[in-house]
């Protein structure tokens, strides 16, 4: 198995609306990632694109549409799509392009343009449900989060303020992020608890916003990295992915077993035996604040029901023992679904190579984990990276 490293990353600002077309956004992020790696498009062997529902951008087969912006012109190019999991999954796909020996250098480019859809991206989320079993009830996407969050809170007796602490931490962490849409240095737990109730227990400030944005990373084989004497690199040492059954109303939503399975696969490959001791920082998927906690448990970084304690005790702060979402996460930087790769994979790269600027974790970090979640509360994918 060939060793694969991340050698460059780029991202656009994340905003409610951007003027760029989807492919122009892809170009901007890709150009930046190539520049940061010191490569030209001619160095790239293959391209992987990650982008979530076509119904946001409003283009059927939007992987094809975005192709030239991703640098895929006249190259082997593939789009992968695992719902919200795409933000981390596309890097896993990029990894197998290089690890298989078929490519030396692969670009991974993720994009989402949610502002195309009117009147609100939520209208499109109606189509993610089963047309016969769920759609007649006219569900709103927030419902699934609310139902999962309620079950998680009720089973473990978790208080809302302990969940709100995640929103506060991440929105404050995002203050150092140049692309952030919702950074807030002064937000308090009280602000979250007093924000508008959307679908109890979910309130406005528990939610990351829909955004437009793109991000890109460059992956390369260890041979290439050595040959080109590339200094800024972080190694992909473990990958794992897993999907649970479609029948979400048959599952206990209290624990993300699919994340745990993906994590075990990635840890097994990375030879991580005791994740809580060996993982230095984490970028779990946080489209809602409680999801960070849920996912820390799925990642086996906290015992079941105990992730809120870590947050309350400050362990997950940037200067804590286990910094979580030092980027600011989706809660603080924004949530252009697949493009959140900028925080999940990009941040690992920037932190592990000491390039995170104001967001740099103050103590030395050598091993990080990122994770994304998607589909109908059923998809988990995990990447472990080392300095």
């Amino acid at each position: 198995m060939r060793k694969v490293g991340v050698i460059g990353a780029g991202m656009t600002i994340f905003r409610r609306r951007l003027q760029e077309t989807g492919k122009e956004m892809c170009f901007e992020a890709t150009r930046m990632a190539l520049d940061s790696a010191g490569l030209s498009i001619g160095d790239v062997d293959m391209v992987v694109n990650g982008t979530a529902p076509d119904a946001f951008d409003g283009v059927h087969m939007k992987g094809e549409y975005l192709l030239d912006g991703c640098g895929g012109y006249r190259k082997p190019y593939t789009r992968v799509f695992t719902g919200g999991g795409t933000g981390v999954f596309s890097t896993i796909a990029g990894w197998w392009h290089v690890a298989s020996g078929l490519a030396d250098v692969v670009l991974v480019v993720n994009e989402e343009k949610m502002s195309s859809c009117q009147p609100h991206p939520q209208s499109v989320f109606a189509h993610i449900w089963d047309p016969i079993l769920d759609r007649p009830l006219k569900p709103n996407l927030v419902w699934i989060f609310a139902m999962e969050m309620n079950r998680y809170m009720t089973v473990y007796g978790i208080k809302k303020e302990d969940i709100a602490r995640v929103a506060v931490k991440n929105k404050r962490n995002a203050v150092g992020h140049p692309c952030a849409q919702l950074a807030d240095a002064n937000i308090t737990v009280d602000d979250v608890l007093k924000s508008e109730v959307m679908a109890w227990p979910v309130q406005r400030l528990d939610i990351s916003p829909p955004s437009d944005g793109a991000s890109a990373v460059v992956l390369a084989s260890d041979d290439f990295i050595r040959r080109r004497r590339i200094k800024d690199r972080a190694w992909i040492s473990g990958v794992g992915w897993c999907i649970d059954s479609t029948m979400w109303t048959d599952r206990d939503l209290v624990f993300p077993e699919y994340v745990a399975r993906a994590a075990k696969m990635a840890y097994g490959m990375a030879k991580v035996r005791d994740p809580r001791r060996e993982i230095d920082f984490a970028e779990p998927y946080d489209p809602f604040d409680y999801k960070e906690l849920h996912h820390l448990e799925g990642l086996l970084l906290a015992k079941k029901g105990e992730a809120p304690t870590l947050t309350r005790e400050g362990v997950t702060q940037r200067d804590g023992d286990l910094p979580v979402c030092p980027s600011g996460g989706l809660m603080g930087v924004g949530n252009p679904i697949a493009a959140t790769m900028g925080m999940k994979i990009g941040e690992l790269f920037w932190q592990l190579t000491g390039q995170a600027g104001k967001r740099q974790i103050p103590h030395e970090v050598r091993t990080g984990v990122s994770q994304a979640w998607g589909d109908l509360m059923q998809y988990g994918c995990v990447v472990v990276m080392r300095a």
């Binding site: 198995m1 060939r2 077309t21 979530a52 529902p53 076509d54 119904a55 409003g58 283009v59 059927h60 087969m61 992987g63 094809e64 549409y65 975005l66 192709l67 030239d68 012109y73 006249r74 190259k75 082997p76 190019y77 593939t78 789009r79 992968v80 799509f81 695992t82 719902g83 999954f89 796909a93 197998w96 392009h97 690890a99 298989s100 020996g101 078929l102 499109v124 989320f125 189509h127 993610i128 449900w129 089963d130 047309p131 992915w241 897993c242 999907i243 649970d244 059954s245 479609t246 029948m247 077993e257 699919y258 399975r261 993906a262 490959m269 998607g374 589909d375 109908l376 059923q378 998809y379």
Partner: protein, 383 residues
């Protein structure tokens, strides 16, 4: 590390299948593939890959609705938004890393669930430069057919020969939806659609599912399987912009074939390939693709077709399965179906359409209008 196809599962292709949900259709193909390979998907398979596009299915995130009917619940599973051959290439790479030993690739069409297929294809056009013009998306194929015929001096009659040959081939394929004894005259006399294309130049839609089981040579031995080897895979895209792509030459297929031949160490495709399955969802595509794959010189495929070179008893049997013109357009399952056909031919399991002594075959896919993306797989008979 060698990677082989150890299981093939196909449903019949039919213009509509009201008795099946898309899940039930996939379950049938998967059941057949696992029985063919002798594997238990819950115990033996390390990864599952589905190839699908949301709008073809009618779901915001189709990936959600995939695992249960493939035996993939709580297993590594993903969607490649591409033709089944691109999925095959990804499963091939997964196995090549050493992380996965047995992988499953699935692709299907439930296009009869779509009431507005033309509206869906139109939705794939560039929203700024093309969509506002309001043209039928097959105008793209008409323009390309005209460009190809003109650039290569190929007579329209060659298209008649392609359609007649391929739909007759389909009569010998029990899964084909559109087999028919069509003469060249019938084709020439069929209604004009997107000139130079006529109604019989355009494949009709069909439902169907295809599942292939892939394994590393070590796993294949352990499972006592008799693999058809994947000697090479390739995939590539030309410009997605209608305005800057190569209209005449199917550059995507040429590049994809170049990659696949390189991996397969095929130097002279026209003499080393025994059987070819190429995308023919519009008749001219068969000729254009044969040239791009180096199986005919530029401008020669049409003449060879008129001579019968691509018939079952010709120099190079092409689309012996009945192709898409004869089996039906199964959208993202198109390329995977062709790989399945080549695998069956190389195994000697192709029934009454078996080509004697086929050792090396090529399957090629295109992602249909309006894309300029394609994939190629070179398969070889064992050991």
């Amino acid at each position: 590390m060698r990677v082989g196809i150890i299981g093939v599962g196909l449903t019949a292709f039919r213009p509509s299948t009201p008795e099946y949900s898309w899940k039930e259709l996939m379950f049938e193909a998967a059941s057949r593939a696992y029985a063919d390979a002798g594997v238990d998907p819950r115990a033996d398979v390390g990864s599952f890959v589905t190839c699908a596009e949301d709008y073809y299915e009618g779901f915001g995130i189709f990936d959600e609705f995939v695992p249960d009917q493939l035996g993939a619940a709580l297993r590594p599973t993903c969607t490649v938004s591409g033709d089944g051959l691109q999925g095959l290439a990804n499963a091939f790479m997964q196995i090549q890393t050493g992380l996965i030993e047995v992988a499953v690739v699935e692709a299907h069409s439930k296009i009869s669930d779509v009431l507005t297929p033309i509206g869906i294809i139109e939705h794939g056009l560039d929203p700024i430069w093309n969509k506002p013009l309001g043209f039928h998306p097959y105008v793209v194929a008409g323009l390309e057919a005209a460009a190809y015929l003109r650039a290569t001096h190929t007579p329209t009659k060659a298209l008649d020969a392609v359609v007649s040959k391929t739909r007759r081939n389909a009569l010998r394929n029990p899964i084909a939806a559109y087999g028919a004894a069509v003469d060249m005259d019938h084709v020439a006399a069929s209604e004009a659609r997107f000139e130079p294309l006529r109604s019989l130049d355009i494949s009709g839609p069909a439902d169907g599912a295809v599942v292939l089981v892939l394994a590393s040579d070590r796993a294949a031995r352990r499972l006592h399987a008799n693999p058809v080897w994947i000697r090479g895979v390739g995939w590539a895209s030309d410009s997605p912009s209608l305005e800057t792509r190569d209209w005449a030459g199917a550059t995507y297929a040429r590049l994809a074939a170049g990659m696949a031949y390189r991996l397969a160490k095929v130097r002279r495709p026209s003499s080393e390939i025994d059987v070819a399955e190429v995308d023919d969802r519009f008749s001219y595509k068969e000729l254009q693709h044969l040239e791009a794959l180096g199986l005919a010189k530029s401008g020669e495929a049409g003449k060879a077709a008129l001579r019968g070179a691509y018939a079952a008893d010709g120099r190079l049997p092409v689309n012996i399965s009945g192709g898409s013109l004869g089996c039906g357009n199964v959208f993202e399952a198109t390329g995977l179906h062709r790989a399945a056909e080549v695998a069956l031919q190389l195994r000697g399991d192709a029934g009454s359409r078996q080509i004697d002594g086929a050792k090396v075959g090529v399957a090629q896919a295109w992602r249909f209008v309006p894309s300029a993306t394609g994939a190629v797989a070179v398969l070889g008979a064992g050991p």
